[in-house]
Each structure stands twice: as structure tokens, then as C-alpha cells.
């Protein structure tokens, strides 16, 4: 998978990446030390408040997964069983539920028993959380508006907003890209390929 900067085991340095600039003041209370004690020079900032250790996270996730396992097991008991087949439709869901339960407990217990060696998870800082949340809400609105507004208009709105949000100084570019892509989506997917995307009342 392509990515820019993230893997803990990457020894490389990333000296040439530029970052979003929303024209705001520098991040407060940010811990810019490298994750896991490794040296990186790409200047990522991680929230001190949100940082949890891998051990603590594994204990919490292990418990959560075990609960999911119990939930799957209880949901599996409601599956109606046909007697004509050797393999009951409940078998696989039971296996999944049991695996989740056992592995969840195992992960929590194993992490609980670890002492000493630990590493930090670098969660985003406040600004990062806000950017991700707004981006996800934008995507959720895009999906929700797809059927009522149609693909071209929903695409235009989503791209105009997201591109502008990620770089607020380039609003003209955001509008241009959104307009071209919205129009292209109509011409290519609806007119040329004849796929069953909602066109919306503007184009119907």
C-alpha cells in the first residue's frame, strides 16, 4: 500500500514533505518526539494527552474484542438450523465468536503480563483529530446526499468542500476541480457507460 510517512520500522528519513497549513497558530502541547524512540525528521506532532502505550491499548482492545466475541456467539444462537446439511449455518459464526473471545482474552492477558518493554502509539494531536473528523463527516454527507442529489452534484459539493478544507487558501482551485470532476462523473459514468448512478433532479 502506498503511503507517505507512517511505518515505525522504516529507517528512512523524509525531509521533503510539506504539511497542511490552515493559517493557524502552531500546535500547543504537542509532543514532537519520534514514535517508539526511532529517529524521524519529518516533524510529525503527536498529542501528549492522547498518547497511550501499546500495552494499555492492547488490554483495552483485547477486552473489547472479547465482548464482540460474546456478542457474535449470542447472535449465532438465533440462526435457524436446517437439519439436512452436515455443516450447520451456525458453525462458522460460532467459530468466529469463539476465536474473537479467546484471542481477545488472550491479547488482554498477554499484554497485562508484559512488564518493561513497551512502545507508544502515536495518536493524532487535537488538530489532527479535528481534520480527520471533519473529513469523515464530509464523506458521510457525500454518501447520504448521493441518492437525493445525484452523483454529479454530491461529488461537486464533496470535492469543493474537502479540497477547500484541506487547503483553505486555494478555494478557486477547489471549485474548479469539483466542477470538472462533477461534470466528468456525469458524462463518463451516467451518459457514456450508462451505469445506474443516481443522476439527481438537475440532470434527469
Amino acid at each position: 500500500m502506498r503511503c507517505i510517512v507512517r511505518r515505525r520500522h522504516r529507517p528512512a528519513v523524509f525531509p521533503m514533505t510539506r504539511r497542511f497549513d490552515h493559517g493557524k497558530k502552531p500546535l500547543a502541547k504537542a509532543d514532537c518526539s519520534p514514535p517508539n524512540g526511532r529517529a524521524t525528521s519529518h516533524g510529525e506532532c503527536y498529542s501528549e494527552v492522547a498518547v497511550r502505550t501499546q500495552r494499555a491499548a492492547d488490554i483495552a482492545v483485547g477486552c473489547f474484542i472479547a465482548l464482540v466475541g460474546i456478542f457474535v456467539l449470542s447472535a449465532s444462537t438465533t440462526i435457524s438450523v436446517a437439519r439436512v446439511h452436515r455443516l450447520s449455518p451456525r458453525t462458522f459464526p460460532y467459530v468466529v465468536g469463539l476465536l474473537l473471545l479467546i484471542c481477545g482474552i488472550g491479547l488482554a492477558l498477554k499484554s497485562w503480563s508484559l512488564r518493561g518493554a513497551d512502545s507508544r502509539i502515536h495518536w493524532p494531536d487535537g488538530e489532527g483529530i479535528r481534520t480527520i473528523t471533519v473529513s469523515l463527516v464530509g464523506l458521510a454527507c457525500y454518501i447520504a446526499l448521493m441518492n437525493p442529489l445525484g452523483l454529479p452534484l454530491a461529488t461537486f459539493l464533496y470535492l469543493a468542500f474537502s479540497t477547500w478544507y484541506l487547503n483553505r487558501s486555494r478555494w478557486r482551485m477547489a471549485l474548479t476541480i469539483a466542477l470538472i470532476t462533477g461534470a466528468l462523473s456525469y458524462v463518463l459514468f451516467i451518459r457514456l457507460l450508462g451505469l445506474s448512478f443516481p443522476a439527481g433532479s438537475l440532470f434527469e
Partner: protein, 502 residues
């Protein structure tokens, strides 16, 4: 059913039709593009395009999908060499020496040798695929449901146990993938499973939504979080390597092909593993190992050859046994099934025209990629400069369009969004993604094979241990699980998966 020149020539005749050549070129172009661009990789690229290719004939569609996969291996090195950003874990060794070469003003030769090495390894691996795949398929004809179940079980076990020191997380990831695939109606009895009484969930969760969410959306979230905007450009003037450099790397290319190809036959042995092995081997064999890490041209040729060989090797188990060894292969398997083609030994017997056309297209694709990557390498390097505030939303747009077109339901896109968030947390918490993808694609085949096996054995699970081939697969599966448990017991640090999800 084994290898014959007649079949291969027929394959070339089909692959060389104007339509198939065009789609191979489109695939090579998109592949290089997704390899170069940050935030999108071959898995997302193939998964997004798969539902949109239903307008194409199956042969053209799979030729294009395959070209995207091996094309991405060519493009992946560009950012590693030019700007020291290994876009994939498999490009880390390339960055070590490639960026050092770039700093010494030899970025052009480094990029060129990576393209040449990719071409040599890609072509040699396709020759090996041509010879091995039909041979193995002939052997796999005797496989019944128990052998298939055991084979898939072994594949999943290997993928889990090879994903770093994270056996429990790998198992959880696999269970979640199986769970997602079980939502909906049971294929045998029609009973609703894990639908919680909702009608929407009756149709089930499509694996493409899962994969696009896990890869494309979570990747965009990671980049958005880190507030990356763009990658700066490096000026390159001299593009061609000296003939002496190519001669110096010939042995390296052949050795890395061998390493990459044979390790790539194993499930879970991703390019991220084989490239390091190939790099290490070259360093050990070199008369001047001290040059490695300081701009040794063999240090670029070795990983680039190995990752191309590994990607092609993945087609051997896919075509012969219907076994995907990596997430990209799992998506391709899903694509084959979508077109009503049953991957496995019968593919060679029942659809020889299709399978040989795809293999033949790989020879042609490698030539296309060499042409696309050698003279046009400057263009690809410039594409890296597309700012993320444009690229990120465009990736999301492509993901939404691709996912919506699976069944033209917004439900699939919501599933993609949910799995995007799950994928984000999995990456943050060190969970391997590959077992989840493979399990979500293999779930139905696993369940069918298990059901049929139990029908044959009248309910006895010992059938997997009494038939010799399935017994070998089961033994290997338990060995890999045992190895995972051994590593788990010895580990004194929290579990963190080390993998290249592509």
C-alpha cells in the same frame, strides 16, 4: 493440460488483439500511477476499478487488473529514489541506496536500473509462471474439497504467522474478516446470519467494500491526520545508466528474481519480506559490502527485481490452486469469481484461452512498463508533486464511485466508510490487515469446502488427516501456528504486526 507452445501462442494471439492491448496499456499506466501516487496502492486500485469493469469482457478486465498489480511494482520505486519516501515497505531497501545515489546526482541511473531490473525480473518470472502454473495445476486436479479446505487453511495460517510477532492480532483480524463475510444469507441453507433482524444486511457485506475501506479510506485518514500536503521535487538531468552499471547488476537481477519468485510462492511472503532477503543476499555476496547503504547500484537492482518476481509468483498459486497469497491476489480472485471463472486447476482445462491470454499479456505488459518507465520516468517523478489536498479527496471520490457501483446501493459505501475507520484503528494498533482481507474473500470457499468434506466423510473431521495431500497441508498449517505460538510465548514486547498490506 500442461504447458504447450500452442496454448501460449493462442494466448499471444488473444492478448495481441487491439482491445486487449489497449486494456493492458491502461492497466500498466494505472498500475504505475498507483505505484507512484501516495495514498493509493494496487489493492485499492484494483478493488475500486473491479466493479466498473463489468462493461468489459472478462479477459480484457483481468488483463487490466493483473497489469495494475505488477505495474505498481515498477512505479513504487520512484518516490523511494527521488525523495527518499519508500511508498511501500518493499521499497525501503530501494530507498537506502537509491536515495543515496540521487544525492550523488545519480537519480536518473538509479531510476533506470530499477526499471530495467523490474523488467528482467518480471519477464523471467513470467517465464517461470508459464512453466510452473500448468504443471502445478495438473497436480491439483486430484484435489477434492478436503484438500482445498486444508490448502486454504494452510494459506491463512501462513499469512497470520508471517505477519510479525502478532499471532493473536492476526487471528483476530482473520476472525473479523470471516465475520464480515458471514453477514447475510447462508449460501447453502439461505438462513439469515448475523443480520440482527435488518433487511439491509440480508444481502451481505461485499468484500470490495471491506477492502476499499481497509486500504484506500484508512490510508487517506492517515495522510490527513499527518497533514501531508505534497512532496518536493528533485531535479534530474541524467537519466540513463552506464552500460557498465547494467553489466554489474545482471547477476543481481537474476539472483533477486530467484529469491523473489520462490519465496513469493508462499502465502504471506509479501514483497516487503523478499526485497529485504534479496538485498541482504546481495550485500553478503558483494566484494564490497561497505558500499551498501551508501549508493550501491546493486542495492537498487536487488529489491526492485525481487518485488517484481514476488508479485508475478503470486499468480502461480492463484491460477493453479485458486489460492491467493496476498491481498491483491485475493481481490483478483474475487474478480475471477465475479466473472464466473473458478480459479484453480480446472481454469487451465476449461478456460485455456482466458488463462493463457492473461499470461501472454504479462510478457507484453512488462515491455509496455519498461517503455512507460524508462523514457517517461521524469513524468512519473513529477506526478509525485500532486498536492495531497487534491489527491486525497480524489481518492475518496474514486473509492465511493467504485464501491457504489458494486450493487448501486449506498449501503456498500457505508460499509466502506465503517471499514475505513476499522482499518485506521487496525494500523494504529498494530493489527495486520492481510488476514482480514484474505479471510473475507476466502470465507465462502472455506465454508463450502468444509461442508462438502464433511458430507464425504459423513461428518468426521478426520478426513483432513487421513488423505495424504490434505494431511500435509494441515501439518504445515499446524506447524506455522505452532511457530506463531512459540514466537508469542517468547515475545517480551507488545504485539505489533510488521507487514506490507499490499
Amino acid at each position: 493440460m500442461g504447458f504447450s507452445f500452442e496454448y501460449l501462442l493462442q494466448g499471444f494471439a488473444t492478448a495481441l488483439t487491439l482491445q486487449n492491448l489497449f486494456w493492458a496499456l491502461v492497466g500498466c499506466f494505472i498500475g504505475t500511477l498507483v505505484g507512484v501516487l501516495p495514498g493509493i496502492g494496487p489493492v485499492s486500485g484494483i478493488a475500486i476499478l473491479l466493479p466498473l469493469t463489468t462493461v468489459l469482457p472478462p479477459t480484457s478486465a483481468i488483463i487490466m487488473m493483473a497489469a495494475i498489480y505488477y505495474g505498481a511494482m515498477y512505479g513504487g520505486s520512484t518516490t523511494a529514489i527521488v525523495v527518499n519516501i519508500p511508498g511501500e515497505a518493499s521499497s525501503v531497501p530501494t530507498a537506502m541506496d537509491g536515495y543515496e545515489m540521487a544525492k550523488q546526482g545519480k537519480a536518473g541511473p538509479a531510476l533506470a536500473i530499477s526499471a530495467i531490473s523490474s523488467f528482467v525480473a518480471g519477464t523471467l518470472s513470467v517465464i517461470a509462471l508459464t512453466l510452473f502454473a500448468p504443471m502445478l495445476a495438473e497436480f491439483a486436479v486430484v484435489f477434492g474439497p478436503p484438500e482445498y479446505f486444508a490448502l486454504m487453511f494452510m494459506g491463512l495460517s501462513l499469512v497470520i504467522s508471517l505477519s510479525g510477532h502478532a499471532l493473536l492480532k492476526g487471528l483476530i483480524s482473520m476472525a473479523l474478516g470471516l465475520g464480515a463475510a458471514l453477514v447475510g444469507q447462508d449460501p447453502l441453507t439461505g438462513a439469515a446470519r448475523l443480520t440482527f433482524g435488518t433487511v439491509t444486511l440480508n444481502a451481505g457485506v461485499d468484500f470490495i467494500s471491506v477492502i476499499v475501506g481497509l486500504f484506500a479510506i484508512s490510508e487517506v485518514m492517515i495522510n490527513v491526520e499527518q497533514r501531508i500536503t505534497a512532496i518536493s521535487e528533485m531535479k534530474i538531468t541524467n537519466w540513463m545508466p552506464a552500460w557498465a552499471d547494467i553489466k554489474q547488476c545482471l547477476g543481481t537481477m537474476i539472483r533477486s528474481t530467484g529469491v523473489g519468485f520462490f519465496l513469493g510462492l508462499l502465502p504471506g511472503c509479501a514483497p516487503s519480506v523478499t526485497t529485504f532477503v534479496a538485498y541482504d543476499l546481495e550485500k553478503r555476496m558483494s566484494k564490497h559490502p561497505e558500499r551498501f547503504g551508501k549508493g550501491a547500484i546493486e542495492g537498487v537492482a536487488a529489491p526492485e527485481g525481487a518485488n517484481n518476481a514476488t508479485s508475478t509468483a503470486g499468480f502461480v498459486p492463484l491460477f493453479s490452486f485458486g489460492l491467493p497469497t496476498a491481498p491483491s491476489m485475493a481481490v483478483l480472485l474475487g474478480g475471477l469469481m465475479m466473472y464466473g471463472l473458478q480459479p484453480g486447476p480446472m481454469l487451465f482445462a476449461q478456460n485455456p484461452q482466458f488463462v493463457w491470454a492473461v499470461i501472454a499479456s504479462m510478457y507484453i505488459g512488462n515491455v509496455m512498463l519498461l517503455i512507460l518507465n524508462l523514457p517517461l520516468v521524469g513524468m512519473w517523478a513529477k506526478i509525485v508533486n500532486i498536492p495531497f489536498y487534491i489527491l486525497g479527496p480524489m481518492i475518496v471520490f474514486c473509492a465511493v464511485v467504485g464501491t457504489y457501483s458494486i450493487r448501486f446501493q449506498a449501503f456498500d459505501v457505508w460499509v466502506m466508510l465503517i471499514f475505513g475507520v476499522i482499518g485506521y484503528f487496525m494500523r494504529k494498533l498494530g493489527f495486520p490487515v492481510a488476514p482480514m482481507v484474505l479471510a473475507s474473500v476466502l470465507a465462502q470457499m472455506l465454508e463450502t469446502a468444509l461442508g462438502q468434506s464433511l458430507l464425504i466423510s459423513q461428518g468426521s473431521p478426520f478426513i483432513f488427516f487421513t488423505r495424504p495431500i490434505s494431511a500435509v497441508f494441515m501439518a504445515l498449517a499446524f506447524l506455522s501456528i505452532g511457530r506463531g505460538i512459540w514466537v508469542l510465548m517468547r515475545a517480551q514486547a507488545p504485539e505489533v504486526a510488521v507487514e506490507d498490506p499490499d
